[in-house]
């Protein structure tokens, strides 16, 4: 095991550091005086670095599998011979769920295998130790493979997409100079790829980090990269504003993160996730890591009798089990329960900022000002998912109250994001809101106790969302940087590959599947997992029933607006003839990655909860999650265990599928037919009503239903369906639009308002403070006297009188 750990850490370290090397090389090449701006060398080098990283990650994955005897994939049915196991496994996959398997899954939680250690010791301030650690488990590996793979695809895509920067004189048509011309600047091809490399380095570092402090460092670094990349077209006012906004909003979240860090440090005295092994002379010294201290081996919190204090396990007995120290022991550590909640909320605050959760979600749509590959990599697949990743990684530290907060935040985010996406017309904005919504799903999944489900969705989402962003990039490139869907339409014939791969992505995110079989798109599996958990959760805690209903509703909306996007863009008649004429399919370096990602998006989750991906992820599920938490015992809420979740699967799965189909159908009816002018829907719901009623012959339907019911018995049921469906449609559209409008108002008015107000008021405060600095020396000296008097009077007033 020791050697496997070393092997893995070396491989992953290579994958992690290569992009940094790439960044350095590219930066130097860029600053070289005679650098050729028209060369694609930087891109190739960046691709090499990240691609090699992918190879390393894959090897690491393979080594890990061999080293652990592929235990993760066969952990479910132990006791059988391997062959039988495999056969049975296949059977299960084909026949769906059965009870026997559920029990096996719940009772035998596979033992986690974690490889942790220290790369390098940074410093020690008193008892505050800072070091570069690694923490490798199956989640880390999955993230590594996913990030490097997707990043490679996106890098390749970007060589095509960014090719227009390969000039000495780039004309930015969106920036107007004073004299009415366009802005000219040298191309920034190199710069783009160097930033991307830096980002990959930071992201991989974040995933590999072995202590929360290291996470924070890379957390900030990805933030900087995001800032640089959003502001890539810095001359555009919107871009630089968006970059600033992203950075600032993230700092707000990081503020909470820092508070969390401080609490952790003061209460635990360590930042490390896992136990730290130190060789002190000949003695192997083991100090407990955060997870151990809180959860120990069985995953239970040790609380004092009044429940106010959490006792930390930092003493190891000869068997390697961790215990709480005795009361008389000076090394005994405790933390008040409230403080643990605050710490959890603080760290989660960081996740809220980075993952664009309510109420800090506003920066993400604006972040679409960056080039599309950036949106695909940074703002959908990886960086924004880092918050979810951290929430998952830090899961053992969250107590159920924190998880409840996470669940609600996720729930609100999912709904808000989805509803806004309905009315957005900018193709990238739709995807951005959808990303917000999906991130909310993941958070919700984590919050309701579905550790595996949340992270499962993280991986699948990364695949199909990056695919969709790249498709949108392809569309945008094809349409000469037109992003408004209202000007597109009928692109299917002009760019078939893009359209079809996009369709795969859309189906994946909508979560479509063929009912009754296990053939399904990846999004179905992961969303199903989340919804099942949520259902199980609400069964245990009926008061939180919204945590199931809202996501279910959102699943429908998701399907609706995603298909809307696709229909809008690729079907129907071209709305802008001029634009349409010039549209062309993208070159191979752009379509190639699309195809690869489409395969992934469709199939990465094959098998669902019995599939390899899910099993691999849950292999590192924190201990204790599987059993669930009984609310009556100690906490205000209960968490479902695996058994309960499995019990809800079929219900949740079919409900989700139904919602998805409903959403898709509505979308088809509204947009797919291409006969309804969506602008009318926007104008007012009443006209939509009339319009739809007329067009689809709803009057006739009434007639049929009430006048000649006996005549068409066969049609009757369908007609009822359609009628009900229609009513729901009307209400939906009306409500949806109202809510979205309100959401948007809230978003733009209140939250943006607050952010802007803070920015503006601090700025104007700063400006007005300048007036204090009058430049008059006599007033300065007067201030000395006044200040001394004031300070003395203040001290006089506040000091105890004695």
């Amino acid at each position: 095991m020791e050697s496997l750990g070393n092997k893995l850490s070396t491989l992953l370290a290579i994958a992690w550091l290569l992009p940094l090397f790439g960044f350095v090389v590219e930066v130097f090449a860029m600053s070289w005086p005679n650098a050729n701006r028209k060369s694609k060398a930087a891109a190739y080098f960046a691709i090499f670095c990240i691609g090699f990283g992918f190879v390393c990650s894959s090897i690491a994955f393979y080594e890990w599998g061999e080293g652990t005897d592929w235990a993760a994939f066969k952990a479910v049915d132990h006791g059988h011979s391997e062959v039988a196991n495999a056969a049975e496994h296949g059977e299960h996959a084909a026949t769906g769920h059965d009870d026997h398997e559920h029990k096996a899954a719940t009772h035998e939680t596979p033992k986690r295998t974690v490889f942790s250690g220290t790369f390098y010791n940074l410093a020690q301030f008193g008892n505050l130790k800072l070091s570069l650690d690694y923490y490798i488990d199956s989640l880390t590996l999955a993230m590594f493979v996913m990030v490097t793979l997707i990043a490679t695809c996106i890098h390749i895509f970007a060589t095509g997409y960014m090719a227009e920067e390969l000039v000495d004189d780039y004309v930015d048509h969106q920036v107007h100079t004073h004299d009415g011309g366009h802005f000219h600047r040298p191309g920034r091809f190199y710069k783009f790829f160097s930033y991307m490399s830096l980002f990959c380095f930071a992201m991989l570092g974040l995933v590999l980090a072995g202590n929360i402090f290291q996470v924070f460092i890379f957390w900030e670094l990805v933030g900087i990269c995001s800032y640089l990349l959003i502001g890539f077209y810095v001359e555009r006012h919107s871009a630089s504003t968006a970059a600033n906004k992203a950075f600032i909003v993230n700092r707000v979240g990081d503020f909470g993160f820092i508070i969390g860090l401080m609490i952790l440090w003061t209460s635990f005295g360590t930042f490390s996730f896992d136990d730290q092994h130190e060789v002190d002379g000949n003695v192997n010294k083991v100090t407990a890591g955060l997870f151990t201290m809180v959860r120990g081996h069985d995953g239970h919190l040790d609380r004092s009798s009044d429940g106010q204090t959490v006792l930390l396990k930092n003493e190891q007995d000869v068997n390697g089990e961790w215990h709480v120290r005795k009361e008389s022991d000076p090394g005994r550590k405790t933390i008040t329960y409230t403080l643990l909640i605050v710490a959890g909320l603080g760290v989660f605050g960081g996740c809220v900022g980075k993952s664009a959760q309510f109420p800090l979600q506003t920066w993400l749509p604006d972040a679409m000002e960056g080039p599309t590959p950036v949106s695909a990599l940074v703002h959908s697949a990886t960086m924004v998912a880092a918050g979810v990743y951290l929430a998952g990684r830090f899961y053992p530290m969250f107590v159920p109250e924190v998880l409840l907060t996470i669940a609600y935040v996720g729930c609100i985010t999912a709904f808000v994001g989805a509803t806004i996406a309905i009315v957005a017309t900018d193709i990238k904005k739709v995807l951005a809101y959808s990303t917000i919504s999906q991130l909310g799903y993941m958070m919700l999944g984590l919050g309701v106790g579905g550790w595996g489900a949340g992270l499962f969705h993280l991986v699948t989402h990364a695949c199909f969302k990056s695919l969709m962003f790249l498709c949108s990039g392809s569309v945008i490139a094809g349409c000469h940087h037109e992003q408004e869907m209202t000007k597109m339409g009928g692109l299917l014939r002009k760019m078939p590959i893009t359209a079809l791969t996009m369709l795969v992505g859309v189906m994946a995110i909508a979560g479509l599947a063929i009912p009754g079989t296990s053939i399904a798109f990846s999004g179905y599996h992961s969303k199903d997992a989340i919804l099942a958990t949520a259902l199980a959760y609400t069964k245990l805690n009926p008061i939180h029933f919204l945590l199931f209903l809202v996501p279910l509703l959102t699943a429908g909306i998701t399907s609706f607006y995603m298909f809307r996007l696709w229909f809008y863009t690729f079907l129907g008649k071209p709305r802008d003839q001029h634009l349409h004429e010039h549209v062309h399919e993208s070159p191979w370096e752009m379509t190639g990655p699309l195809l690869l990602l489409a395969v992934l998006a469709a199939g990465c989750a094959i098998g669902g909860e019995d599939g390899k991906l899910f099993k691999m992820l849950t292999f590192s599920e924190p201990v204790g999650v599987g059993q669930g938490v009984d609310g009556a015992a100690a906490h205000t809420v209960s968490l479902p265990g695996h058994a309960a979740i499995h019990a809800s699967h079929s219900t949740a799965g079919s409900a989700a599928l139904l919602a998805a189909f409903i959403g898709m159908s509505i979308s088809y009816l509204v947009y797919g037919k291409g006969v309804i002018n969506p602008a009318d829907i926007k104008r007012q719901a009443a006209s939509v009503h009339a319009f739809l009623a007329n067009k689809w012959g709803f009057d006739d339907l009434y007639d049929v239903m009430f006048v000649k019911p006996a005549h068409v018995v066969a049609k009757f049921a369908a007609a009822i369906d359609k009628f009900v469906f229609d009513e729901i449609l009307h209400t939906f559209v009306r409500m949806g639009i109202a809510v979205s409008k309100w959401d948007r108002k809230f978003d733009e008015g209140v939250i943006d308002g607050i952010v802007n107000l803070m920015g503006n008021s601090t700025y104007s405060l700063g400006i007005s403070l300048r007036n204090v600095q009058t430049g008059k020396i006599r007033q300065y000296v007067t201030f000395i006297a006044v200040s001394v008097v004031t300070l003395f009077v203040l001290l006089f007033a506040l000091y105890p009188k004695g």
Partner: protein
């Protein structure tokens, strides 16, 4: 009269055998000053450039302090008061003397590279520079109220002249006048406070003060007691003098004007060296209250809280005022104000923890980390701030401007300078993994611990945290100008010699990264310094 003879004999022994030996670095600097003047007088030495003499002297002094520090840490030398208790020779003082000498070397090198004093004026300039450093070194080791005042004056008066060094310029002379008037006023107030304090305690010796004060303050006396009131007033007045040197709100008014008017080299020197000396002095003055009764501790505690509030105000004011600046030196001046605020938070936490009623082993550890954080911050601050000012000076030599908008697109022309600037600015903002981040972290962590003692520290901590956000905005403007804006047509071309200038810039700027990436060695040293100062071990 036998006793007198004995006393004289012992004084001679004490002075010649102990004190003078430990005072050599200061003597070297004094000697260098004399040597430079001789250079002007003796025709034979006319050809020797003053900067080499100054550099030689600074190097010698630095090497000497380095040896002393090494011996102190190694145990061959011991902390001891020297010159009949006027100065203190210990790790803390020697660290700061070393720090100042190092900084002196860097500043001289910078002036040589940027050529701000021409050959004609070089001896005068370096005389003033060395004289000011001498004063700061005395500030760092002062152990007596007279030396406190003497140190402050010795550091200030040559600085006044240095600010006015570009004497043909209106701005420069205006800045110098403002500095001298403000400085003289603050020094006067401080002296008045010192006189009251000396009168109350009947001694000038700093370590005595706590003990003496507890003799005159009765238990449980509040502010209505005239003695307590006088102590508070006197301490406040002494703090005004230090606050002036530290540019603490509301005694910071001179700072932006002076930094804008002075040459960037001088501004860089003042922003770091003078603050370092003043912080050393402030810590010593704050610790002077220790060893007294509970009533004295209570006064010091209240002062600590007051300092904390001032620190919060300073950081906020500095950062906010920097928003609307267009002159880079002026912006950096406000940034130094803000940074003084951060560092002052460490002092506040130190005093609050040290003098709280519920002290214990825990509070000792925290006071240690306060000093550690302060020293670490100063050390990082040396590089990042000097780096920023140095680059401003070097760029000024090329484009003859210090306006931020004239920095547009510089990155294309001098990537190295801009890279250095970016490093410094990231560190000033406090982004990981730069040194500035860790330094802030240590300080904030100490303040956080101090919140358990008094609620007001939450306010200080909150202000500190918010300010890290505030700070972003204006620093980023510089980066944005350099990296993202295009170089306007017809702008003056920037060129510099890669060899000495580029090397120097890297030498100054890379440590900001280095201190962040591998602070382990330094942290150990800082810990040693702090623990000797606080616990004698």
């Amino acid at each position: 009269m036998n006793e007198i003879g004995l006393l004289v004999q012992r004084l001679l022994d004490e002075t010649t055998k102990t004190s003078v030996g430990l005072f050599v670095p200061e003597l070297v600097l004094s000697g260098t000053i004399v040597a430079m003047l001789l250079c002007r007088i003796l025709p034979l030495l006319w050809r020797v450039p003053a900067q080499w003499i100054a550099l030689l002297g600074a190097f010698t002094a630095f090497a000497w302090t380095l040896c002393q520090f090494d011996q102190l840490v190694g145990g061959t030398l011991h902390a001891t008061p020297i010159f009949t208790g006027l100065l203190m020779f210990d790790q803390f003082a020697t660290f700061f003397r070393m720090f100042l000498c190092l900084f002196l070397i860097l500043t001289i090198t910078l002036t040589v590279l940027s050529g701000i004093p021409d050959r004609e004026d070089a001896p005068d300039f370096y005389t003033l520079l060395l004289g000011a450093t001498l004063g700061m070194m005395i500030m760092a080791s002062a152990n007596h109220l007279l030396m406190v005042f003497l140190g402050v004056e010795m550091a200030s008066v040559p600085s006044y002249a240095m600010v006015g060094f570009l004497k043909g310029r209106k701005k420069s002379s205006e800045a110098a006048l403002k500095y001298v008037v403000y400085g003289a006023g603050a020094a006067g107030v401080m002296l008045y406070g010192i006189s009251l304090l000396a009168g109350l305690t009947g001694t000038g010796s700093l370590p005595e003060i706590g003990h003496r004060l507890s003799l005159i303050v009765s238990q449980g006396a509040g502010i209505s007691d005239p003695i307590v009131r006088t102590i508070v007033l006197a301490s406040l007045m002494v703090l005004v003098g230090l606050a002036f040197k530290l540019s603490v709100f509301p005694f910071h008014f001179w700072c932006p004007d002076v930094f804008e008017g002075a040459a960037a080299e001088v501004a860089g020197f003042l922003s770091v060296a003078s603050k370092a000396g003043a912080f050393a002095l402030l810590v010593r003055f704050g610790l002077a209250f220790s060893g007294g009764s509970a009533a004295v501790s209570e006064i010091a505690f209240a002062l600590g809280i007051g300092i904390g509030v001032l620190a919060a105000a300073t950081a906020t004011f500095g950062n906010l005022s920097a928003y609307g600046q267009t002159n880079i030196k002026r912006m950096l001046a406000y940034s130094t104000i803000a940074h003084a605020g951060y560092m002052l938070m460490a002092v506040s936490a130190l005093m609050v923890m040290k003098f709280s009623k519920h002290g214990g082993a825990e509070s000792t550890a925290v006071t240690l980390s306060c000093i550690e954080g302060l020293i670490y911050y100063l050390f990082v601050y040396l590089f990042m701030n000097l780096g920023a000012f140095a680059i401003v000076a070097l760029v000024r030599n090329q484009i003859f401007s210090e306006e931020i908008e004239d920095y547009n697109g510089l990155a294309t022309q001098c990537p190295l300078l801009c890279f250095g600037m970016a490093l410094c600015i990231f560190s000033l903002i406090g982004l990981p993994p730069m040194g500035g981040f860790f330094a802030k972290l240590v300080i904030f962590a100490s303040v956080f611990k101090a919140t358990s003692v008094h609620w007001a520290m939450w306010f200080v901590l909150g202000a500190g945290a918010i300010n890290t956000v505030f700070g972003l905005f204006y620093y980023i403007r510089i980066l944005k100008a350099m990296y993202l804006k295009p170089r306007p047509d017809g702008a003056r071309k920037v060129s510099y010699d890669l060899m000495p200038v580029g090397l120097f810039v890297l030498m100054i700027c890379l440590p900001t990264l280095g201190l962040g990436v591998l602070p382990a060695r330094f942290a150990e040293t800082f810990n040693n310094v702090a623990s000797v100062l606080l616990t004698g071990r």
